[in-house]
């Protein structure tokens, strides 16, 4: 099958959607499909062979954080050329409602279009204002995928219609087989995410840390992610700052090893999450997970059966749960076993098969994707 995938965010900047697209493309290529990914990227960035650049992306504040998006005449022209040259059987657009390549592709394409909605942002005024513009583009989409039941619900509320739920995929065995690292073991809590992004919840964890360290003086917190390290520990008493280790940006291998090593993985995110891929990765590595009770997280953790939940933004509740977990090895291994079994449904072998099933459902008896030439049709209709 010839598959075109559209990535709305810049390929140069790592992010959940970009990783999802990379893994999906590589999974589909391994299965023998022909895949081309259209993504914004700087001209000098080295790209994998399956990625086509749609030009440089512009940083814009969108959905509560800065996203690098791509729009304008040049991008639109590149989208049309990519669609025309690709003769895809199906085009898979990610984040079609974001003002970027996804929306441009919706405008320009006709034929079987599949779209995945990743974010579940609350209904904004911009959304309501843009609704009449969005609707004609979005109604071209033949099949919608939401990454979680929560994302599906917001999609239905905001845009109407319906979607099938297919979670994001993870290479479970990559995490399950990683080698634990000695220096990261022994009463360790793990946190992975941008340090300077408050929605990732590190401040909540920092507020809980003094209480945890008083109860468990031997505990350590390992933080992987970029951001200002000094500012992050500023709220801690000076004596406790040495119990926090910053690892900076880590490679995929080190991330897997870190998750394999820690005693408890903490996800204190306060919002803006519609799926929580990091939880799935932690579960894959067999790490006991302690997460805030966001809708999306509760769903990934099977309503608390595959990992513990604490009340969102409640540092005290986080501290109590962490102390209890650190002191109870039986509970930890129980969570680890249950998590490892539960996480199989997020493996690419399952998720990829479901996505392919969607492709096959929409391509059944339909022509391939092409640029939408209706402007010409209009002239013909008016007899010009």
């Amino acid at each position: 099958m010839k598959i075109g995938i559209v990535c709305p965010y810049s390929w140069d900047v790592p992010g959940g959607v970009q990783f999802h697209i990379r893994d999906l493309a590589e999974h589909l290529i391994r299965l023998g499909h022909e895949v081309s990914v259209l993504a914004p990227a700087d001209d000098e960035t080295p790209l994998p062979p399956y990625v086509v650049s749609a030009g440089r992306a512009v940083p814009v504040s969108y959905n509560g954080s800065v996203a690098r998006l791509s729009f304008g005449f040049l991008s639109a022209a590149r989208v049309r050329r990519w669609l025309h040259d690709g003769t895809f059987d199906v085009v898979h657009i990610h984040e079609p409602a974001s003002p970027s390549l996804g929306l441009l592709t919706c405008w320009a394409a006709q034929g079987p279009i599949v779209a995945t909605f990743h974010t579940s942002n609350p209904r904004s005024r911009a959304m309501i204002a843009a609704y009449p513009i969005l609707q004609p583009a979005l109604e071209k989409i033949s099949a919608r995928i939401a990454v979680s039941e929560y994302a599906r619900r917001t999609l239905v509320e905001h845009l109407g219609g319906d979607a099938v739920v297919i979670p994001n995929g993870v290479d479970v065995d990559f995490f399950a087989r990683a080698e634990p690292k000695k220096e990261w073991q022994g009463e360790t809590l793990g946190f992975i995410g941008r340090i300077d992004e408050p929605r990732k919840g590190l401040p909540v964890l920092m507020r809980a840390l003094p209480k945890i360290l008083t109860e468990r003086p031997g505990a350590r917190l390992l933080v992987a992610g970029r951001g200002d390290e000094e500012e992050a520990v500023a709220s801690l008493p000076a004596a406790m700052r040495s119990r926090v280790e910053f690892l900076g940006m880590v490679s995929d291998e080190d991330k897997a090893r870190l998750l394999r090593s820690v005693d408890v993985y903490v996800a204190p995110n306060t919002g803006g999450e519609s799926f929580g891929i990091i939880l799935v990765e932690a579960l894959s590595a067999g790490a006991p997970v302690l997460a805030s009770d966001l809708d999306a997280f509760a769903q990934v953790l099977d309503q608390g059966a595959a990992g513990e939940l604490f009340a969102n933004e409640d540092a005290d509740a986080l501290a109590d749960a962490a102390i209890a977990l650190l002191g109870d090895a039986t509970r930890r291994s129980e969570l680890s076993t249950r998590g490892s079994a539960h996480v199989r449904r997020f493996d690419w072998s399952t998720v990829g098969a479901d996505i392919l099933a969607v492709y096959e459902t929409v391509t059944d008896g339909a022509a391939s994707v092409d640029t939408d030439e209706r402007p010409l049709g209009l002239r013909a209709r008016l007899g010009l």
Binding site: S142, G160, D162, A341, L378, L382
Partner: protein, 180 residues
């Protein structure tokens, strides 16, 4: 005077272009419904055929075989206005027979059973998918057709008002469940 005339003509042309664009939108939505309906029909037919194959294979006990054969046969032969009921009954029959994991295991162990169980599992998962895509297209078309501009200028032409396909498509747990 001439100026007013020119502006009137420009306005009329703009309205015309807008209406034509809307008609194009509606046309595309109707095409999408047709494609989605064809896909749904294909998936329903596939499910019924796999069920019938299993029912006549002799792997299942006679009672289960008869129940499945009856339901699959009825679903394939159903008239258009009885289709939703017949397909729902097939879903219920499948749930009744494949409610327990043991029954699915039994099929898997028979020669060629692994494949048959896999095909049936794929079919029962794809029917709800195809139905959701179809009903999504129907909803989009209905929303546009209810709009004033479409009703006043009869942009929908003679196309029938699209109807959603309503049925019970809940798959049997033992078949639809993901590897645990």
């Amino acid at each position: 005077m001439t100026e007013t005339l020119i502006w009137t003509v420009v306005a009329l042309i703009l309205i015309g272009v807008y209406l034509s664009w809307t008609a194009g939108r509606l046309d595309r939505l109707h095409m999408r419904i047709d494609a989605a309906r064809a896909a749904l029909d294909a998936q329903l037919l596939r499910r019924a055929s796999v069920t019938q194959e299993l029912a006549t294979s002799g792997v299942l006990d006679p009672a289960a075989s008869i129940v499945l054969y009856e339901a699959a046969h009825a679903a394939r032969q159903a008239e258009e206005d009885h289709r939703e009921v017949a397909e729902s009954e097939l879903s219920q029959a499948l749930r009744a027979v494949f409610g327990e994991p043991e029954q699915v295991e039994l099929v898997r162990q028979a020669p060629g059973g692994e494949e048959a169980a896999g095909e049936l599992a794929a079919a029962v998962r794809r029917v709800p998918m195809a139905r959701r895509f179809h009903n999504d297209a129907v909803r989009a078309a209905r929303a546009l057709r209810r709009h004033r501009k479409v009703r006043w200028f009869r942009l929908a032409g003679h196309a029938p008002f699209p109807l959603a396909f309503e049925m019970d498509d809940e798959p049997p747990v033992a078949l639809a469940d993901r590897p645990a």
